[in-house]
Each structure stands twice: as C-alpha cells, then as structure tokens.
C-alpha cells in the first residue's frame, strides 16, 4: 500500500475523524464539570485536537509539508513558551491576546479562501457560491470584530491603555451605522458575485472588514473596570462563532460543531457574568455595556466619624474566639500579591481547628472564575472555595468575615439603594457575619464609585494597610499570641 492510497483513505474518512474530535471535545467538557476530573478532560480534548490536525495533514493533499510543519513547530514552541511564562494573575490578558489570534486566524483564512476563489473560480469543498460568499462575509466580520475587540481588551488588562470606559459621542448611532454598513456591503458581495469584477468584490469585502474593525474598537473601548470579565466572555463567544462561520465557508462540519460549542460556552459565561453584576444580557450583546449613571450619596454622609480602625495585634483576639472564618478575596488581593500571605493565615487557622472558607463572588478577579485559579495556585484546596449561594449560607453563621480587597461585591446598598449602579447585583452577605474585618488601604470606593455602609457597622473593624503586610502581621501576631 503506497502513500497515495493511505492518503485517499484518510481523506475519505476525514469527516469521521472530525466527528471523533468533536465527541472527545464534548466528553472533555463533561469532565470539566468537576475539579477532580477536569485535568483529564482538558487532555482528552487536546488529543481530540491532535487527531483532527493529523487527519488534515495526511488527508488534505498538502503540497509543501516542509513549510507547513516548520510553521507548526515554531508556533508550538512559541505557544508552550508563552503558556509557561504567563503569571496566573495575567491569565486574563493572555486569554484576550489568544482570543485576538483566534479572530485573526478565522478572518485571515476566510480572506485567503476568497483569494483562491477568485483565482480558480472554485469554492473550497465545492460549497454553493452563495453559501461560500455569505459565510466569508460573516466570517470576516466576526473574526475582525473579535480580533480588534480582544486587542483592546488586552491593552486595557495589561495597562497599556486606560482602563476607564471610553464612550464615543452618539455611540449607538455610530455602532448601528457600522453594523448597517457591514450588512449592506456583505449583501452586495453575495448578490453581485459573478456580475461585477474582482475589484468591486474586494471593495465590498474590505468595507465589511473596516466596519467590523471600527465596531470592535468602539465596543471594547466602551467597557471598563468591573465589566472587563464580561467582555472577555463575550469575545470568547464571538471567536467560537467565527470558527463556525469559517466551517460554513468550506463545508468543514468539524469546525461548525466545535465553533458552536465554544460560542455556547462564551454565551453562558457572558450571561452568568451579566447576572453577577446585574446587567441586562441582551443589552450587553448589543454592546450597551456601560453601567448606568451614579448616585448622589456622598461618602462623607456615610463615613463621617463612624469608622473604627484596628491593628493585627488587636484583632488576633477576635480571630481566636471565632470558630468559622470566611475570607472574601477581591482583585485587590491579587494586585497586592497577597495570595501567599493569605494561604499562610489560612493554614494557621486550619491548624488550630478553625473552619475557614473563601467566599468567591463570580466577578472577583478579571475574568470569570479568575479568583479560584489564583487561590488554587497557592494550594488552597478547592473544597474551601465557595461560590455565591453557598458562601451566603456559610456567612449566616460565620463568626468572622475578612474582606480582603473586595468592595462593591460586599456592599449592602446593592439590596435597597435603587439609585446606585450596583442596585440589584447579587452580593456576598458579609454583613450577616458576627464580626467583620475589612483590610483596605483607604476608604477609596470600588469600581462603582459609591461608598460602602458595611464599613461603618458596629461590628466592622477596618485595618488600613496593604493586604500583604496586613496578613503577614496577622500571621505573626497569631503565632505569638
């Protein structure tokens, strides 16, 4: 049996290989449902990916193996290098840039297929011309939008750009205009195919790409601060959809299925993020991610003369008397690089027989679930990491709650202050705990810009220190007590 027979066999079986890949993806995702099996799930899906890649390499009549394989070798080395170098705190940026790459891949492949189409007059896989052109337009649009949007998100998370939300005047008018342009030009591309010359077709496709660029930029620029987890989830979904669109251009059913799986995962995460910060899911999909305007409550009204400060040495007594301790970490903890110190306090308390849990709000950190990754990295066992509902149950009977760099997510105003931007947002009910310690550098507000009445409760004590030294001194005072 020579190579050509093997190749022909593999080629005719390629859809089956892709089906195997997709099934492995689905089981991989299923194993991700528990932290115990998640790592195996990831491995399973990676093997599935390998099967698809090898089947393509062998079955698709590659003419220049040397080039293709060397590009793949370089890409693998870069990918592994990047993945090992990135810090866990920087994972959101890393995901944003990878997501940008994903958008670029899909748009660029679409454009390349378009080039080949004009050169040879053949659509890839012999798909009908209308389907091909529609899918190319959709793919170029979503891919470009994802690319630019993800780049802006990367710039914001990395601190290259200002994190503040930047709003174009009459943003909705412009965005509708961009969307309309893309629709009209895309339609023209499809309906005029064959009746106009190549240049005209390129102008149509170019306009789609330009409109997607502008839309991607304005959408992502408008998002700031606390909303960053949403935009990450949303662009993941777009990347999945663009993979699907690419599958429609060349009748690759594997792409269609895998892409829509990811599109669904991104949408679910966007919805759960939206719920966690009380924003309308559909408004977000349409790009209205800006929080509503703020209230008139001034911080002096609330804080004046009612703040009680404490020190690590003083506070140890209260901790000693406690049985159940709940730690509420916010992104401030990661900024202060205090995870290690936090773990040390956790270990001390556990060793002395205390029940210690971490209450993790869904939007704690910079992307969905980020805080759990940061705590797992410093060896906090995952059964101590509690999500919103479970945390609130524990908080009802907790003796001490330690708020560590979190603010808006523990603000009781979310329950009843209708004129604040956080009204209606599900919060961690820290105020139900017996005693509350807030470790915070100053009384500066969170992303929402409003003061926090939690800080002036009778049972609240403030420790005005950086998270890391505060925890280190607490540990020291605990040992010396």
């Amino acid at each position: 049996m020579n190579f050509d027979t093997v190749r022909a066999a593999i080629q005719s079986l390629t859809p089956i290989f892709y089906l195997i890949t997709v099934v492995m993806f689905i089981f991989g995702l299923k194993l991700l449902q528990s932290p115990r099996t998640a790592r195996r799930g990831n491995l399973l899906s990676a093997v599935g990916m390998l099967i698809a890649i090898v089947a393509t390499l062998l079955g698709q009549g590659i003419l220049n193996y040397a080039t293709v394989l060397s590009i793949m070798a370089v890409g693998s080395v870069v990918g592994v290098f990047m993945a090992y170098k990135v810090k866990m705190t920087d994972v959101p940026q890393f995901v944003a840039i990878l997501n940008g790459f994903g958008g670029a891949v899909s748009a660029v492949v679409g454009i390349a297929e378009f080039l080949v189409f004009f050169h040879t007059g053949q659509t890839p896989g012999g798909v009908p011309k209308t389907q091909f052109l529609t899918a190319v337009a959709a793919d170029a649009f979503i891919g470009t939008l994802t690319f630019w949007g993800s780049l802006v998100a990367f710039g914001k998370l990395q601190g290259i750009m200002s994190e503040k939300s930047f709003l174009l005047p009459a943003k909705n008018v412009f965005n509708s205009l961009f969307l309309l342009t893309a629709l009209v030009m895309g339609t023209l591309l499809v309906v005029t195919s064959g009746t106009v010359d190549t240049t005209m077709s390129w102008i149509f496709l170019g306009s789609v790409i330009l409109a997607a660029t502008l839309l991607g930029l304005t959408l992502a620029m408008a998002v700031g601060g606390a909303d960053m987890p949403i935009i990450i989830a949303l662009f993941i979904s777009y990347a999945g959809l663009s993979a699907s669109a690419l599958g429609f251009t060349n009748a690759n059913y594997g792409l269609i299925m895998a892409g829509s799986l990811v599109g669904a995962s991104g949408l679910i995460l966007t919805r759960s993020m939206a719920k966690a910060i009380n924003r309308n899911f559909w408004a977000i999909l349409l790009g209205n991610i800006t929080p509503p305007s703020t209230t008139s409550v001034s911080k002096d009204d609330i804080y004046a003369g009612r703040i009680k400060a404490t020190t690590p040495d003083e506070y140890v007594g209260i901790l000693d008397a406690a049985q159940t301790v709940v730690i509420v970490p916010g992104y401030g903890m990661a900024v202060a690089q205090a995870q290690g110190a936090c773990r040390d306090l956790f270990n001390e308390l556990i060793a002395d027989g205390k029940e210690v849990y971490f209450a993790v709000h869904p939007v704690a950190g910079r992307m969905p679930g980020h805080m759990n990754v940061l705590l797992a990295e410093v060896n906090i066992p995952y059964d101590r990491l509690k999500e919103l509902d479970e945390s609130n149950e524990i908080l009802e009977s907790a003796d001490v709650a330690i708020v560590l760099g979190a603010n808006d997510v523990v603000n009781p105003m979310a329950r009843d202050a209708k004129d604040t931007p956080i009204y209606g947002m599900p919060i961690l009910n820290v105020d139900r705990a017996g005693s509350i310690l807030v470790i915070k550098r100053s009384l500066s507000p969170g992303f929402s810009g409003i003061p926090n009445p939690l800080f002036v409760l009778d049972k609240t004590l403030m420790m005005f220190m950086d998270a890391k030294p505060a925890l280190q001194e607490l540990v020291k005072a605990w040992k010396d007590r």
């Binding site: 790592r39 995901v95 492949v109 080949v116 599958g247 690759n252 799986l261 002395d352």
Partner: protein, 103 residues
C-alpha cells in the same frame, strides 16, 4: 439532504449540546473552561493547514494561510498548556497538599 441544511442542523445541535454540557461546569472552573474551550475553537488551524499547504499557485493565499497557521498553532498549544497548568493547581483538601499542620 442539502449540505447547507445539514450544516445548520449540526450548528444548532452543537449549540444545544454546548449549553447542556457547559451550564454544569461549576463557577470555580470557569477560567480553565474559558481557556480550554478557547483552545477548542482554535480547531480553525485545520482550515489554515489546508489553505497554507494547498492554495495552489495563489501565493498571497499561501502567505495568509501561513500567518493564520502560525497564530492558530500558538492558540491551540498555548491554550491547552495554560489550561493544564491551571488545572494541575486544583487540589482537594483531602490530599492534604500545602495545608500542613502546626506542630
């Protein structure tokens, strides 16, 4: 059956399977989920391979395909490796890792 109908059916069914499987992933694993599903979306490399290796004599398309292939492979490999790195950190309390008792 018209191929486009088949394609749309597969698309719809996969979205539904995706919703079903992914809503059951606990929030604690949402970051690894994002990274892993992201790596799956990068299955687009197979199209990049086809176009880079098989775009006939259309040089421009081959170059674009090469760029897409490079970015796509970074995406796949980077995504899976970082997800693995993260998931390796998730340990059960019963394993007694890290949480050593005070003597």
């Amino acid at each position: 059956m018209d191929p486009i109908v088949l394609a749309l059916m597969l698309f719809t069914l996969s979205v539904l399977i995706g919703f079903e499987v992914i809503t059951k992933v606990p929030p604690i694993l949402h970051t690894p989920l994002v990274v892993a599903s992201h790596a799956m979306a990068a299955i687009m490399v197979v199209s990049a391979i086809e176009i880079a290796g098989n775009a006939g004599d259309t040089l421009a398309a081959q170059i674009l395909g090469g760029i897409a292939l490079l970015l796509g492979v970074i995406n796949v490999v980077g995504g899976y490796v970082i997800a693995d790195r993260m998931l390796a950190n998730f340990k059960s309390g019963k394993a007694k890792t890290g949480a050593k008792g005070k003597s």
